[in-house]
Symmetry: C2
Subunit: 168 residues, 2 copies
């Protein structure tokens, strides 16, 4: 089945990570592919050391925006997609997280026309978890689970910067 | 700081679990207290085996509703609160998850008048993460982070039952 965590609120990536932990706790194997996140993150540091889960990050260290896209961003995004293709072909995971793929779609680094048919080809029994704000409407229509994380309150509204161990 | 994950959508407990994994990945220590969940769950099976995190579940195996509350439910909920009191006193954790506490509040198993002053006493530098639908307004006001998980789509709407490794 296809799961989508979208919206502007905190908790999308961590919800996907928590689902991976739930799957691992049931003896399943999980794959986590992150787009646009070349930076270190607490959860990835730990997951990389855990048995039963494979993690791949594709992206530069810098924060990427629409007007600062580089050739490397496209190349990295495509490598992420290739990793997904292989994983679907090999059918060795019960859970596959595509973290921040919605943002990669929004930035045009991945085309919905490439991604959605690929999701459709995924064998039954595989859970695909897509995260990132602004999930495209076609994805929402194809998905089985869609949760919108709505930000009601966040300390950055008061000027507090992202904190290690909490935001990353 | 105080974090709240509420709303009717999927991802509240898993987001809290993901935050715990992020904290652990940064070398922090975490405590997870679950109310109303005496049942086995994939994530708890795994977390119980992991170093750096302590997990406690308080509740009966059965699903609890407002009109089926028993003395045991009150006793279990109070044990959870006592575990929280001790943890705050000993100050040994950087992250404390109070899973489903909002539901315990709604059912009257825990009183907001007991809980909220306790949260206020928590030392700076401790992240408190409260989950469950229908977070009370006083909690939302006291919190620093509030995310509402809104259900846009869920397969139970089509009659699909909760699945092992995905819903629990």
């Amino acid at each position: 089945m296809i799961h989508v965590y979208t919206g502007n609120g905190k908790g999308k990536t961590t919800a996907a990570v928590g689902l991976a932990i739930r799957a691992l706790g049931r003896g399943q194997k999980a794959l986590i592919i992150q787009w646009l996140k070349g930076r270190a993150a607490g959860e990835m540091e730990l997951l990389k050391k855990m048995p039963g889960v494979d993690c791949h990050q594709f992206g530069r260290e810098q924060f990427v925006q629409k007007d600062s896209l580089q050739k490397e961003d496209h190349q990295e995004a495509q490598k992420g997609l290739e990793t997904l293709r292989k994983a679907i072909r090999r059918a060795q995971y019960q859970l596959i997280v595509l973290d921040e793929i919605n943002v990669a779609l929004e930035l045009g680094l991945v085309e919905a026309g490439e991604l959605l048919p690929l999701l459709g080809k995924c064998p039954t029994g595989v859970e695909l978890v897509l995260t990132g704000r602004n999930a495209p409407q076609e994805l929402v229509e194809q998905a089985d689970y869609v949760t919108e994380m709505r930000e009601i309150k966040h300390p950055y509204q008061k000027g507090v910067k992202a904190r290690k161990g909490v935001e990353y």
